[in-house]
């Protein structure tokens, strides 16, 4: 899976924003928290859900099942706005 080219990522100071370009049904701006921003960064390249969980486990000191649940939740939100190419 990968972030669609029609969504761009823009950082303002320490905050990451996800913005749809014209043509997408979703017409909002997503302001990501730290976890979501990490996941969005992973999705800039082709990856898998497992790959993202692995990357987060290497970065954050938290139980794998907690991280996996967070990743699943964020991916579901990104799917709901059609931001993913799968």
């Amino acid at each position: 899976m990968k972030l669609k080219d029609s969504f761009i990522v823009q950082d303002i100071e320490d905050t990451q924003f996800l913005v749809p370009l014209g043509g997408e049904a979703f017409r909002g701006i997503v302001r990501s928290n730290g976890t979501a921003a990490f996941i969005v960064d992973c999705l800039k390249q082709e990856t898998t859900e497992k790959g993202i969980v692995d990357a987060m486990c290497a970065e954050y000191n938290a139980p794998r099942e907690v991280i996996a649940a967070d990743v699943a939740e964020i991916l579901e939100k990104l799917r709901s706005i059609h931001a993913l190419e799968e």
Binding site: Q10, D11, I12, E13, V19, L21, G22, I29, R31
Partner: protein, 439 residues
């Protein structure tokens, strides 16, 4: 903190909230514009557009009574790169507002003109007009690129009214394609007849026109230098009146330098007598480029600012050449807003000045040189003189813009503070001095 103008609502939602940090020393933001009015201090933030009553400290820490100034970004960390911060916000707003389709088309039916204005930047260009093939392909180009949305046609030239037949055909073609459209025009006004006004209000769906008039009659004649020897001065005034009666909003652009500035009161007298629906007419005074690029422009700018009472006294609306934005300005001109210029030979450009090297493609092949557009409207490079300017958010944000004013900062400040003081006055007269937002 008493607020006299609320911050831009979109930006307020978007920008990450600032939390005052007691370990940081905060200093006035480059976007903080302090001003005095009737013995009170005020401060306007040119980025967020919030205006508050009070005086900025030279420096402050969190908890010293200035936390609202910190969260409102009137005070920022001393080491903050505010130009980079503005560019990040601007990039976000542009991405969000960018449309996939081209909605705006500035069309140059001809580069020919019946005048020879002394200040014309197109002097020396060949007076070519669109061929019928180019006209038909322009219609197809619009149909294929507008995404079915309402199209905005802007007629420019040369003098576009030398070829009303081209305007007729393109409007008809766009209408036959089932597209909604409206149009605007920049013209010298000298070829406007009652029949043309009918076309404007009818088939052309003209909502707005800008007419250039350059002061009192003698100045007008000597500056416009029409080929034909006719009474264009009064003819244009009659045309302004007819258009205002037809419901078309008219902006009169008066190109000024020190030589014709003195005749403006006479010009306003003449215009006042000749125009019926003054509420449809606004006037703005634009210093000639040669003045704007010279060291001696400030006196003229001051004179032009002070013409407001005269214009309003004559019954017209005064439109400042540099206004005060009270909403975040995402796009600054046609070049960065995603519209396109169609030249008489069918070439596409990002800007009506058609700068050499900025040709994007043509109406037969579409935009074939995306890199030319990206290079022309590149927003990540800010001119060095603009990096610390408080008016960066209200100015063209791309370095290739052909406009180069010498004292732009001083002029912006003079105009902005004038507008802010009037805003405060308006607030006091509207709500009897009580606190509350006014814009």
């Amino acid at each position: 903190m008493i607020e006299t103008c609320k911050p831009d609502a979109v930006l307020a939602k978007l920008v990450p909230p600032v939390r005052p940090n007691p370990r940081i020393i905060y200093v006035p933001s480059q976007f903080s514009l302090p001003f005095e009015h009737q013995g009170k201090g005020y401060c306007f933030n040119t980025l967020t557009k919030q205006c508050v009553e009070g005086r900025l400290p030279e420096a402050a820490k969190a908890g010293e009574g200035y936390d609202e100034w910190i969260t409102g970004q009137f005070l920022v960390p001393a080491d903050k790169d505010e130009c980079a911060y503005y560019n990040q916000i601007s990039a976000l707003m542009r991405a969000y507002s960018k449309k996939k389709d081209v909605r705006g088309y500035t069309i140059l039916p001809t580069l020919g003109c019946n005048a020879r204005c002394v200040y014309c930047y197109e002097e020396g260009t060949k007076p070519v007009s669109m061929s019928s093939e180019t006209v038909e392909q322009t219609i197809r180009f619009i149909r294929n690129n507008c995404g079915g949305s309402e199209v905005k046609l802007s007629w420019f030239g040369g003098e576009p009214l030398l070829r009303p037949d081209i305007i007729d055909r393109i409007c008809a073609g766009v209408g036959e394609a089932g597209l909604e459209y409206k149009s605007s025009m920049i013209s010298n006004g000298s070829l406007i007849t009652p029949k043309i006004v009918d076309s404007m209000a009818g088939e052309w769906k003209l909502r707005h026109i800008q007419i250039s008039m350059d002061g009192a009659e003698a100045d007008y004649v000597s500056r416009k230098r029409y080929y034909a020897d006719r009474d264009h001065y009064h003819q244009v005034m009659r045309a302004v009146s007819r258009m205002s009666e037809a419901g078309i909003t008219v902006t009169i652009r008066c190109n000024v330098d020190e030589e014709n500035a003195g005749g403006i009161p006479r010009f306003l007298d003449d215009l006042s007598v000749g125009v019926a629906h003054k509420d449809k007419v606004d006037i703005y005074f634009a210093p000639l480029n040669a003045v704007r690029m010279s060291e001696n422009d400030l006196a003229l700018w001051t004179k032009l600012r002070d013409l407001r009472p005269l214009v309003e006294g004559a019954g017209f609306r005064f439109r400042p050449f540099l206004g005060l934005g009270t909403a975040f300005r995402t796009f600054h001109c046609m070049a960065d807003a995603g519209s396109v210029v169609v030249a008489p030979d069918g070439s596409l450009y990002p800007c009506e000045h058609c700068p050499p090297g900025s040709r994007l493609g043509d109406i037969w092949h579409g935009v074939t040189d995306e890199s030319a557009k990206k290079a022309f409207c590149r927003t990540d490079v800010t001119r060095e003189k603009c990096r610390k300017c408080p008016f960066l958010p209200d100015c063209t944000s791309f370095a290739s813009c052909p406009v180069q004013d010498v004292h732009c900062r001083e002029v912006h400040e003079m105009m902005a503070i004038d507008a802010l003081r009037r805003m405060v006055d308006r607030q006091e007269s509207e709500i009897g001095g009580e606190d509350g937002p006014i814009c």
